[in-house]
């Protein structure tokens, strides 16, 4: 079939209908070939990631006792977790909702499971930066067995395994195809992973049920890990901060940035991956509407937390507002509000912008920057207290909890001083942000970045029907 740029083509209605063979060729072709562009990109990213690892080693050499040194590291981890490990939810949810437009983006979002595995490696050292739950306020109360470290590590490991299992389950049919067509090491790996799949009806049935179960579990685990991270690594690290909405707010922020991540990845795959004839406009259009809703909800959740503190005006509430919003991290906070809410809202509110691939992608990129700023103000802020201050608060002897303290002026308490990134922080930030691109690019050469079987199913279940005088897209709903 002729290769046409589908810039203006909106849905399956206008797209040419390729044969099964053409779909295989079109999608598997770019997967096995490695061009010079790819090599340059991977090489460059690899160097930045290596610098990031060096930054980590510098930090580790200083030890884990000084928590302020790890604030930016924690923020980078939280950002990667929120964006990349959340991204899977897009395909999970849209598959559950049986939308047809999810097909081009299903694998794009699921491939982030591999990034999730590497993010687990980023996470594990962080466990040593938080104190155990004794003698401080914690959601684990009097829990034995080294809470919260063991629990958080286990939850994160389960989540990563769950994500990888889901990616595997949804790519078995494509891996089987890959393994049949190509030899070499990558072909052998694909054959091994596809476990002799040959697509009998019962296999399809089990595969789909498996995807449903793994998807449901992923939701539960992800919300659970968001809960643990935001309470163990942020809220309980600030003496006296009680904010019931905070875990939910972080989970919601996770959904927003998950959609944003998927959108950016989808755009890049479409632009550079030579897959533009399978990634038509409708996914951008549909995702951008969801993104608009989530962006509004982001503000709503933030405001619900803010107004309660603003009205309550207890000393601790004023201090928390000072620490995270108007005090040392106000720059990051204002950027977060502008970039996760104001700017994307102003972009996404226009119908015609949402109908282009560039508009929603721009909004998504802005949201990702904003989310990173949000993580900085929260995690760097939370990492500015010592263990002693947490214990004091537990015994009701903390000035932070009981008095309104100045965030500016000559007598600023230590935790109200801005912790700017130093050299190793900058290395960690650069390496951390390059890591997902690096891993993702490598992953696309092992697993087709467009789900072949879902694309074929999409063509099977859609057709064109003429109602009176005009042609319309018809979508079948088999169950």
């Amino acid at each position: 079939m002729s290769r046409v740029r589908q810039q203006e083509l909106h849905s399956l209605l206008e797209l040419p209908r390729p044969t099964s063979q053409e779909i295989n060729d079109d999608i598997l072709g770019p997967t096995v070939t490695i061009g010079p562009q790819f090599k340059t990109a991977v090489g460059g990213l690899g160097i930045i990631v290596a610098l990031g690892v060096a930054g980590f080693i510098l930090k580790a050499a200083d030890g884990f006792d000084d928590r302020t040194n790890w604030g930016y590291y924690a923020a980078v981890f939280a950002f990667l977790f929120t964006t990349c490990q959340g991204a899977l939810l897009v395909s999970i949810t849209m598959r559950m909702a049986k939308t047809h437009w999810r097909r081009p983006l299903a694998r794009v979002s699921e491939l982030f499971a591999i990034v999730g595995f590497f993010n687990l490696l980023v996470f594990l050292p962080l466990l040593w930066t938080i104190p155990i739950a004794d003698e401080r306020q914690s959601i684990w109360f009097e829990w034995p067995w080294g809470a919260p470290r063991v629990m958080d590590a286990l939850a994160m490991i389960f989540l990563v395994i769950n994500g990888l299992a889901l990616l595997w389950a949804s790519s078995i049919p494509d891996l089987a195809l890959y393994g049949k067509r190509y030899g070499g090491t990558r072909g052998a790996i694909a054959r091994f992973l596809s476990t002799g799949w040959n697509g009998t009806p019962i296999q399809w049935k089990i595969l789909k049920a498996g995807q449903g179960i793994l998807g449901g579990l992923y939701w539960v685990f992800l919300i659970g890990v968001h809960f643990m991270l935001s309470s163990d690594f942020a809220m309980s690290m600030v003496p006296g901060w009680v904010d019931a909405i905070f875990p939910a707010f972080q989970a919601l922020s996770g959904l927003q940035s998950a959609v944003a991540t998927t959108m950016v990845a989808l755009y890049l795959v479409r632009r550079f991956g030579r897959h533009d004839q399978y990634i038509y406009m409708e996914p951008f259009w549909a995702l951008s509407k969801i993104l608009l809703g989530l962006t509004l909800l982001w503000f709503y959740f933030w405001f619900a937390g803010f107004i309660t503190f603003w009205y309550g005006r207890k000393p601790i509430e004023i201090n928390v507002l000072q620490l995270l919003m108007i005090g040392p991290y106000r720059v990051a906070f204002y950027l977060a509000i502008f970039l996760t809410f104001v700017v994307p809202f102003l972009i996404l509110m226009w119908n015609w912008v949402r109908r282009t691939p560039g508009g929603p992608t721009l909004a998504s990129a802005v949201i990702l920057v904003g989310t990173f700023m949000d993580k900085i103000r929260l995690y760097v802020g939370a990492y500015s207290f010592t263990d002693q201050e947490l214990t004091d608060a537990f015994h009701h002897e903390s000035a932070f909890v009981d008095e309104v303290l100045p965030a500016t002026g000559p007598l600023i308490p230590s935790f109200f001083q801005t912790n700017w990134p130093d050299g190793s922080d900058i290395l960690v930030i650069a390496g951390g942000l390059a890591m997902p691109f690096f891993i993702y690019l490598l992953a696309t050469k092992f697993i087709p970045v467009i789900s072949i079987w879902e694309t074929k199913e999409g063509y099977l279940l859609s057709g064109v029907k003429t109602v009176l005088r005009r042609r319309y897209l018809v979508l079948a709903k088999p169950d």
């Binding site: 009205y311 005006r313 119908n351 009176l468 005088r469 005009r470 319309y472």
Partner: protein
């Protein structure tokens, strides 16, 4: 202004949407302008199903106007009330933005919604005091084609409607 040419209307009733679509096609073939005929149905067919030209509308302007008005009124109201009773409560400033924000938000949305509804009615060209040439069977599943044209083309129009299988044709004056 062009000179006044008397026009007459006729309404063809079709029991099937296919027949109505044939009639639209016939009218378009005979160079009837889209302004000369109207389709009336009791069922929302997908846009463009009869082969008619799609219409433009300016509905999206209305919510913006309404929102701006609502916003202005709400800001005035909240500011005026707070300034009129200058009593400090709970250490909050006299002119506090967070509580204003909520009422302003409601005002903005209310303005936007009221204007949208007005816009829908206006852009649908309603209210229409007189129904004009109309048939009650339209809401029971018939599709009506109302042609308004000059005397000389009246016959052509009637032929097209008859040929397309109109079950009943009513004649009348345009309103």
């Amino acid at each position: 202004m062009t000179t006044f040419i008397p026009k007459r209307s006729l309404l063809g009733l079709f029991s099937t949407a296919d027949g109505a679509a044939d009639a639209v096609e016939g009218l378009q073939d005979q160079d009837f302008d889209d302004k000369d005929f109207e389709i009336m149905s009791g069922t929302p067919y997908p846009e463009g199903a009869f082969g008619e030209k799609t219409t433009n509308h300016r509905l999206y302007v209305f919510p913006f106007i309404g929102a701006a008005l609502g916003f202005a009124v709400a800001i005035l109201l909240t500011t005026a009330t707070q300034v009129s009773y200058p009593l400090v409560t709970g250490g909050k400033p006299i002119l506090s933005i967070p509580p204003m924000a909520i009422i302003t938000y409601e005002g903005t949305m209310l303005g936007a919604i009221i204007f949208t509804v007005l816009g829908i009615i206006f852009e649908s060209r309603l209210p229409r005091p007189k129904l004009g040439l109309y048939d009650e069977r339209i809401t029971a599943g018939y599709v009506g084609i109302l042609v308004t044209t000059t005397e000389d083309r009246f016959k052509t129009a009637k032929e097209i409607l008859t040929k397309a299988g109109a079950e009943d044709i009513k004649e009348g004056e345009p309103d």
